[in-house]
């Protein structure tokens, strides 16, 4: 039983190239996000150490390295999976990310599945000061979607 986020988009490249750019150039294309900052310090540069067991790291301006997670699947041109922890998570809290690369004609569909947000503390939300509007929006729909998600997962 886990909550997940699923996002996908098509890119004009082969799966091999998409995988390669995703992993080896993440330091260039990643956009730091305030809510998902890995450490309390100003954002640094991200990098993957290639291969299973390799680290997913952020190198900060002061040279310190923060380990965000470890690579758990490394299948060039097909699939990448890694763990993801932010410094503010409690020790037992971890989320996992899986990225799939699938050919669609001459292009590639890149799908990101981020799981495990139900392990993240609720206090975390408050600390980052979500705008109230986020909470107040569409209460009814929240319930509906959540229940639908549940029945899908359980069926």
């Amino acid at each position: 039983m886990t909550s997940r986020v699923l996002i996908s988009l098509r890119v004009a490249a082969t799966p091999e190239r998409a995988f390669d750019v995703f992993t080896s150039e993440i330091g260039a294309w990643w956009r730091p996000n305030d809510l998902f900052r890995f450490t309390p310090r100003p954002p640094g540069r991200l990098a993957f150490e290639r291969g299973i067991g390799g680290r997913f790291i952020e190198t900060l301006a002061n040279g310190k390295v923060f380990e965000i997670g470890r690579i758990t699947a490394w299948e060039p041109g097909r699939r990448l999976a890694f763990t993801w922890r932010q410094a503010s998570f409690a020790p037992d809290q971890v989320t996992t990310v899986e990225v799939r690369f699938e050919p669609v004609g001459a292009e590639t569909r890149v799908t990101v599945e981020h799981r495990g947000w139900d392990s993240v503390p609720q206090e975390h939300v408050a600390r980052h000061g979500f705008p109230n509007a986020v909470f107040l929006q569409r209460h009814g729909e929240w319930w509906q979607q959540l229940l639908r998600g549940y029945s899908d997962r359980l069926s």
Binding site: M1, S3, R4, V5, I7, S8, L9, V11, A12, A13, R17, A18, V21, F22, E25, A28, W29, W30, R31, N33, L35, F36, A90, D92, Q93, V110, V112, H114, W117, D118, S119, V120, P121, Q122, E123, H124, V125, F130, V134, F135, H139, G140, W142, W143, Q144, Q145, L146, L147, Y150, S151, L154
Partner: protein, 108 residues
């Protein structure tokens, strides 16, 4: 720290309890009304309601005119927090993948 969300999710892992949440989504209801709708005897219903309360999903109020009457309604907060996280995570990845695509295709 995650125990509250765990409880919330565990509370929903039962068809009777999900049905209670669905019924309360329409409006607050009395315990008796819920028992009839679910065809459960009062002790069985009470157990489910206790679990939902412990999960922070529902709350119980008593009308001023009769303290013996129990009225249950949904609490929006716990699910709202999880939902907000998921919505924000989704937005974050949409932005990341858009940035990835722009980077990749610029250099193509």
């Amino acid at each position: 720290m995650s125990s509250r969300l765990d409880r919330t999710l565990a509370a929903l892992a039962d068809p009777h309890r999900r049905r209670v949440v669905e019924l309360l989504r329409e409006r607050p209801r009395r315990a008796g009304e819920l028992a009839r709708a679910l065809r459960l005897n009062p002790p069985a219903l009470s157990r489910h309601l206790r679990t939902l309360k412990a999960g922070g999903l529902i709350e119980e109020v008593h009308p001023a005119f009769d303290a013996r009457v129990r009225i249950f309604s949904l609490r929006p907060k716990p699910m709202a927090d999880l939902k907000a996280w998921l919505a924000e995570t989704e937005r974050m990845w949409s932005e990341q993948l858009a940035a990835f695509k722009a980077h990749l295709e610029r250099r193509a």
